[in-house]
Every structure is written in C-alpha cells, then in structure tokens.
C-alpha cells in the first residue's frame, strides 16, 4: 500500500491528523500549479483551500483505482477553472476601473521585472485553456494520457492546445526581438 493509500485509510478510520500528511505532501506542488494558473496568490490560496477541503469531504468516494495525486489534481484543476471563470467576470469590472485610473494624471506604473512576476505575466497572456494544457505538460510534466484522464479532454485536442500555447509564446518572443 502506498503512503497515500495508507494515509487515506487512516483518515477514513478516524485519524484526522493523517490528512495533514497528505496536505503537506501535495500542498507545494498544487500551489505552484494554482499560482501559475490563476496568476495571483489570493486566488490560488482560495483554490487550494477549496481543493483540500473538498477532497477531504469526498475521501470516501476516492477509489484506489486512481492515484491519489491524480484524483487530487482533478479537483484542483476544476477549482482553478471555477475561480478563473468567476474572476473573468470580476476582471471585466476591474478593466473598466483600471482604464479610468490609467487616464488619471498621477498614475504610477509598477513593474519590478523580477522573474516571478515576469513568468506570471507571460503565462497570463495565454488563453486559460492553453495555459492549463501548457502547465500540465511542461510544468507538471504529465503524459498526454494522464492529462486526458485529468481534464476529460481528448489527447489530440490537448496536443493542439500545447502546440498553440507554444506558438503564442514563440510569437511573443518574435515581437520582443523585433521591438
């Protein structure tokens, strides 16, 4: 029995603290995906809290036919999609307010150019579905079959999304180079 399966059994037998071991084991990796996917820590933290809580409440539905990590990731991907969808509405409001602010005479542009911010900015320019596929492939280093099982999207569609994401990044590079 794997460590994950043993911890799940302990939780189901009444040992809540065993769940802390699962949280510790997967939190950082899930946090990286959520931050890269959602672009900010507040939303990522909401997604992580919802993911781990939902997984806990549904632990009796987890079946060992799945790897725990893959099962947890499915929940995480769904939570990130939900939060991104909610934020899309919120951001429309912000964009309008931001435009007013930018037209004000005392506007200040904040851009530190640090790597963390740079990579987030580049990723945020990708369409969310392309970003999700790119992150699962190149950051989580999953196979297309694993990605398909996780997202419910076919392998060929995922390959197309990854290719398009890479095309967008390459186009961005060409624009920078020519500026």
């Amino acid at each position: 029995m794997s460590d994950d399966a043993a911890d799940v059994q302990r939780v189901l037998a009444g040992d809540v603290d065993a769940y802390a071991a699962l949280v510790d084991r997967y939190y950082d990796r899930c946090a990286r995906f959520a931050i890269r996917m959602l672009g900010n820590r507040d939303d990522a933290e909401d997604a992580l809290q919802a993911t781990f809580l939902r997984a806990y409440k549904a632990l009796n539905r987890y079946q060992e036919r799945d790897r725990f990590s893959a099962w947890l990731y499915r929940i995480l991907v769904n939570q990130c999609r939900s939060i991104a969808a909610r934020r899309a509405h919120r951001d429309k409001v912000f964009v309008r307010e931001e435009a007013l602010l930018l037209n004000a005479p005392d506007r200040a542009v904040v851009w530190t150019g640090e790597d963390e911010e740079f990579v987030q900015r580049v990723l945020s320019e990708l369409d969310p579905l392309l970003r999700e596929a790119f992150l699962l492939k190149y950051i989580e280093e999953l196979s297309y079959e694993e990605m398909s099982a996780l997202t419910g999207v076919g392998v060929s569609a995922l390959k197309m999304r990854v290719k398009r994401a890479c095309d967008r990044l390459r186009e961005r590079w060409e624009r920078i180079k020519n500026d």
Partner: protein
C-alpha cells in the same frame, strides 16, 4: 514535438515556471482548521458493512405478538395477490409499495458495444461502485456486452468499466460528479424497462 515546443524561449518560460513557489505555512494551518471543523468522512465499506452486519434483536412478549400479527397480515396479502395473478390485482402498486420494502423492483438491461474488450462490468450507486459485482456478458457475435439489474424507481448514476477503464454510456445523459469524473444517468420508472 513541434518547432515551437523546442524553441529556447518556450524552454525558458517552462524552466522559470517549474521553479518551486514560496508558500505560506499559515495557509496549510487554515486548511487543517477547516478540515477539523468538518465531519469525518466515512468509508463506503464501513457503511455497507453496517447495513449487512448480522445483529441480534430482543423483543418483548408484546412486541413479538405484534410482529407475528404483522407477518400473518403480509402473508394474507401475498396470498391474495397470488390468487389474483391471472386477473386484475386487487391491491394497487401504492398499497403494494407500503407492504414491500423499497427494494429494486424494475429490471433494467444495460448494454454497451465494446467489440475489442476482454472484460466489461457495470458499476453504479446500486452496487456500491464495485467493479466485481456486476460483470457483463458478451454476446457471441456483435461485440455487445449486457447485464440486467433490478433497480428501484428513481435516478441512478452508473458507468461501465471496460478493461479497467471507466467509461460513460454513449447512449445516456451524463453528469459531472464535481470531482472530474462523469457518470451516466438512468431514470427508472416503475415497470420493466427491458
């Protein structure tokens, strides 16, 4: 892998994005606080085991008499139904439901086409999602696999397990279970749907 996927700029972005992120230990603590506020999840098997576990009952003489009277009443009713089998039943379904436990009373046939499969089974809320309990039988020629299940009236969620892979029924509506899985939906009315 395409040219774009091998492009140095793409590799740079992927490398940067793979770096670990700083996380807040307090955020993990908040998760566990929220978890501890929830009821403990119970394993399915323990629920099932409780349902089927043998148990002993102690009856007072009065309760024993009432139970005996009730059993006699059910026997009389069953006898009346049997006697009327050839004609119109004298007791309608609603009355029948009142004396029968809410057990599965409708036979539903599940069919899937899987000509290349070696093993197919049916899983659902009616068999505790257990792959071993409802194996499907293959027809000789056309790759059809089928199994019949007695189901209670209402909505049931199910899936097929084809050589270990869970599949939804292409001929039925599906719903997401909220955890990334999709299940097929079967609505069962009273009466056979074979």
């Amino acid at each position: 892998m395409t040219d774009s996927e091998r492009h140095p700029y793409v590799e740079l972005i992927a490398r940067e994005a793979r770096r670990p992120v700083q996380t807040d230990p307090a955020a993990r603590a908040r998760i566990m606080t929220a978890v501890r506020a929830e009821a403990l999840p119970r394993s399915r098997s323990s629920i099932w085991e409780r349902v089927i576990a043998p148990r002993s009952w102690t009856l007072s003489p009065m309760a024993g008499s009432l139970l005996a009277a009730g059993l006699v009443g059910i026997g009389v009713l069953a006898g009346a139904l049997t006697a009327n089998r050839g004609g119109r039943p004298s007791v309608d379904r609603a009355t029948l439901g009142a004396v029968r436990p809410p057990v599965s009373d409708t036979i539903v046939k599940f069919v899937i086409v899987a000509p290349n499969a070696g093993k197919v089974s049916l899983v659902g809320d009616f068999n505790d999602w257990d792959e071993t309990r409802s194996p499907m039988l293959r027809a000789e020629k056309d790759g059809l696999w089928s199994v019949t299940m007695p189901l209670s009236a209402g909505r049931h969620l199910y899936a097929y397990v084809v050589d270990g892979a869970w599949r939804t029924d292409p001929s039925a509506p599906v719903i997401d279970d909220g955890f990334g899985h999709r299940n097929s939906v079967k609505l069962v009315a009273k009466g056979s749907t074979l």
